[in-house]
Amino acid sequence: MFSKILVANRGEIALRIIRTCKEMGVESVAVYSEADANSLHLGIADEKICIGPAPSAKSYLDIDCIIKAAKEAKCDAVHPGYGYLAENEAFALRCEQEGLVFIGPSPENLRLAGDKITAIKIMKEAGVPVIPSGPSGVESVEDAAILCEEIGYPVMIKASGGGGGRGIRICANEKAMKEEFPVARMEATATCGNPELYIEKCIVEPRHIEFQILADKYGNIIHLGERECTIQRRFQKLIEESPSPVLSEELRQRMGEAAIAAAKAVNYVNAGTIEFLVDRNFDFYFMEINSRIQVEHPVTEMVTGVDLVKEQIRLAAGEKLAYSYEDVKLPIHSIECRINAENPEMNFLPSPGVVETYRTPGGFGVRTDTHLYQGYDIPLYYDSLICKLISFARTRGGAIKIMKRALDEFTIDPIKTTIPLFQKVMDDEHFKSGRFDTSYIEKFVRNKDDDDD
């Protein structure tokens, strides 16, 4: 086991990692920028080192500064947390060169996770379902019709040259496709000067469901069930839960096997997540690998009793995995709400500043992962995530009631937060019934871009 770990992150995740280090009897070193000198985790870590000024590029993202701090403090491992350098292949390689263990996947894993086109190719070869699509450069309506028949309607016609979502045509059937194809070609030429089109299956009413993976250095790979992460805004997850309210035991087993196959196909090590899109017919498709501990990992911890950060450290130290999902899964449902310092009434504009009144919820079934305290000045330089509020109970209904009660108890004044939005969601019939897709949150927010006026 390691003797001293440098935690190359800030905020709630730095605190989360240091707490586990304490429990494991491993010394921890916190690093911080000048803007984070009053951070909660600095008082809990065994040592602290200032690594630079407020901007992340000059502190938390500065590889040289972090390596230097780790060497100076005589650490033998580095935990990158999430974000920042967590998925940075160059950083993982540099750690290796400097004789520091990077607590996470291998540099090869990181490279592949970042190269989505290659990753999808490997998954296809490994028999993991991917979103069906045709080759680039479909020339004629006739060719397109044959291809669409193979892929299955509805389909999306996209410009090969990109265009940021522009020129995407959704076609429900062959008749619509034949109408849209020539228009899409014109549009593609007009927007990116390239008439080439490709066709992809359109995922209707998509849900985002991911599987937690653990892998040791000896080829043992397990999954720890799924996390339902469908409730998002602009690809940012807001609410996560485990288990998913819609997965049957049979589908969970099939998706779990696919997730393990996906991890095997890339010789994955340490903790990771395999993300899938699930359509309304419950067909699922590989999206990507997240090669880090994820923000939403606590819901998996609550439904398995496994400390995922501890497992990351154990696996990085060369220990073995000696249990399966079946051994650890509990009859528990857990929900996480991401409390962000954002104003949901004002287009989610950020809300930094001093927390003047802080009262946390507590009681049975509540966990808070947060770096907040009364009097803390939330810096304007970093992410708006200020607290992960997690509830757990024997049933989903119970977890929702506890979450609602905990949200009602929570005071973070005068900071604007996403709490009022989550209070509405917990009372919403569609949320309670589990019927929602990735567009769900739109009905709660006035979608107004400040760029429109």
Binding site: E342, L349, P350, P352, G353, L380, Y381, D383, S384, D450
Partner: protein, 81 residues
């Protein structure tokens, strides 16, 4: 002639250029249209555009590029007829 101050809507890092290697959006003396972008403000990784409230001439730029400004700090003075 009236003079209007353009203030920061919240605290953040003030950027006069769209990218470090590009020229500033505006300089003192420039005539700007209503809603023309004057600068960017970065708060908690979100970039907001600071726009001209009306047509006029930029008479003063009070904040330097890449520095942190406070909520309601005056950033520009614009003159119009």
């Amino acid at each position: 002639m009236k003079k209007i101050e353009v203030k920061a809507a919240m605290s953040g890092v003030f950027y006069r250029k769209p990218a470090p290697d590009q020229p500033p959006y505006v300089e003192v003396g420039d005539v700007v249209k209503k809603k023309q972008v004057l600068a960017l403000l970065e708060t908690m990784k979100v970039f907001q555009k600071i726009k001209a409230p009306f047509e006029g001439k930029v008479s003063e730029i009070l904040a330097e590029d890449s520095i942190t400004v406070k909520d309601a700090e005056v950033l520009f003075v614009i003159e119009s007829n």
